[in-house]
């Protein structure tokens, strides 16, 4: 595996995962505020 592909995998697993969780948090916040 080339180092560039390895870098993409590593960054997706860390920065990508953090970004995904933040996206879910924003969606969750909007959903809960619309219900209350």
């Amino acid at each position: 595996m080339s180092w560039i592909l390895s870098m993409v995998v590593c960054l997706l697993l860390t920065w990508g995962a953090a970004g995904f969780v933040i996206h879910k948090m924003i969606r969750n916040g909007k959903r809960n505020s619309s219900q209350s």
């Binding site: 595996m1 390895s6 697993l13 860390t14 953090a18 933040i22 879910k24």
Partner: protein, 499 residues
């Protein structure tokens, strides 16, 4: 005066920054890059992510639900969740966290001295190993810089959770910015590409070596902090309906993201400034303190704009250490408030403990290293205790009642029960045995001698003494903790006395 109006964390962003601030510490900056370099680069990152999923995330969820369901720090949480006779497990978690805090604050003393030395350039042209030795052993100026952050921390804690939130809201983005600037500088140095390749290249062979996994599990335990009690104590101040699993997930992945940034900041610079890959590898093998205070400091000397970069680097390290220290001191403060102490008295008690117990470590590197070794291993027991607590209460009962609340975006499947109840404690027990076996191999002639401050016997002796003390005081502690909020059905509101 404490902010009477705020009921726990004021905003989701504040909670996010505080949880990330608690986890992101010196372990990300000075340990992760070294471990990645020594354990197959990208292969280590993959092992770390898997370890985070099977150990850190399930145990942090357990901590978060315990704190929020009982509205107590470690001891009170175990008392209400499992009964009086298990209180000692929670008290052990709090005690180990506070003993770690005491020596951890010494790092802030060193870091502030290095910020000063970077500003004045006083270490330029000197033997850096000698400079480090003189800074950390019996140096009264370093001791003063150990005391000052402890006093600043007392003010932050006294002002309440809103103040902790504000400090983290400033320091964590600032730390991100500092790391980003340093990473950009590092990857643009001539010859740095070798370091980037070395860092990211996935050497699959490393994934079949047990030590890669054991090092990843250790990094996961000491950097993200499952069992630290830090998340448990912060959970006391969280709203009953804020999404528990997403909060802990961000804590885990936010921590790993900072670790990657630190890797990009350190490894390309080390490879760019070293004369050969072997020299760069040797620098990474020189230990946390060696890499940070000797190798990197030396590299800053030789780098264009090195003094500014050095000030930035040590300021980032100070922010990382300070935000973690706030979280750890909050464990002690909340523990004392559980006994009905006022916030003022609880802060004074916590700070006094840190100053008294931390003084020997602030004045002697040997004692610092001993305490780091002893309580680092003892901390791992906390993960086993948390796994036991979940098992004893009923893994599925915990998962359905507390983790999968209707407002939660991410519902935990049965995998959580398997990981929290079995995989995490078993993996942690294997890790403890591995560290013990290693210490016997390091000192085959005197591992049994408790006066060998780096041996196995000192760990066993100090941990057993703490456990004996807790077994004697267990009933008194269980009965002295005021009030019970745990109802076994849902998360109670934040009690008035913690507002």
């Amino acid at each position: 005066m404490p902010d009477k109006k705020s009921a726990g964390f004021n905003s989701r962003m504040g909670l996010m920054m505080t949880l990330i601030g608690g986890s992101v510490g010196t372990g990300n900056i000075w340990r992760f890059p070294r471990m990645a370099a020594l354990n197959g680069g990208g292969a280590f990152v993959i092992a770390l992510i898997i370890a985070s999923f099977i150990v850190a995330l399930p145990i942090l969820n357990a901590e978060m639900l315990l704190g929020r369901a009982t509205r107590h720090s470690g001891a009170g949480a175990f008392r209400d969740f499992l009964g009086d006779k298990y209180t000692w497990m929670g008290t052990f978690m709090v005690s180990v966290c506070m003993l770690i805090t005491a020596y951890y604050m010494a790092i802030l003393g060193w870091v502030f001295r290095y910020i000063g030395m970077s500003l004045t350039g006083s270490y330029l042209g000197k033997d850096l190993a000698l400079v480090f030795d003189r800074t950390v052993n019996g140096n009264l100026l370093t001791y003063l810089w150990f005391v000052i952050p402890v006093l600043v921390l007392a003010v932050v804690l006294y002002k309440g959770i809103g103040s902790i939130e504000k400090v983290n809201m400033f320091m964590i983005p600032a730390l991100f910015l500092i790391c980003a600037i340093l990473a950009i500088r590092a990857v643009t140095l001539p010859g740095s590409l070798e370091g980037v390749k070395y860092f990211f290249n996935i050497d699959w062979n490393y994934l079949v070596i047990p030590t890669t996994w054991l090092n990843a599990l250790s990094q996961c335990s000491w950097s993200i902090g499952p069992g630290f009690c830090l998340t448990l104590a912060y959970a006391v101040y969280t709203q009953p309906k804020s999404d528990l699993s997403l909060n802990t997930s961000l804590q885990v992945f936010g921590n790993q993201s900072f670790a990657m940034l630190a890797g990009l900041m350190v490894l390309p610079a080390v490879f760019a400034m070293a004369s050969s890959p072997a020299e760069a590898y040797a620098a990474c093998a020189s230990g946390n303190q060696g890499l940070t205070f000797i190798t990197l400091t030396g590299m800053f000397q030789d780098m264009p704009g090195g003094r500014v970069l050095s000030v930035l680097f040590f300021t980032g390290l100070a922010f990382a250490a300070f935000t973690s220290a706030i979280g750890m001191c909050n464990v002690g403060q909340t523990f004392l408030m559980d006994f009905g102490w006022s916030r003022k008295k609880a802060v004074a008690g916590t700070v006094l403990f840190v100053l008294v117990v931390g003084t020997p470590s602030a004045l002697s590197l040997r004692i610092f290293n001993n305490q780091d070794w002893v309580w680092g291993v003892a901390l791992l027991l906390s993960t086993i205790f948390l796994g036991f607590a979940m098992n004893r209460y009923g893994l599925e009962k915990v998962r359905i009642t507390f983790l999968n609340q209707p407002e939660n975006e991410w519902k935990m499947g049965r995998w959580w029960s398997v990981c929290a109840g079995w995989i995490a404690p078993i993996m942690t027990a294997i890790m403890i045995i591995w560290w013990m076996a290693q210490s016997i191999a390091w000192f085959p002639d005197d591992w049994w001698d408790p006066t060998n401050l780096d041996g196995l016997a000192t760990v066993v002796l100090q941990t057993v003494l703490l456990l004996l003390l807790l077994s004697v005081t267990n009933r008194k502690i269980a009965r002295s903790i005021k009030r019970k909020y745990f109802n076994g059905k849902d998360f109670p509101e934040i009690p008035e006395e913690y507002r």
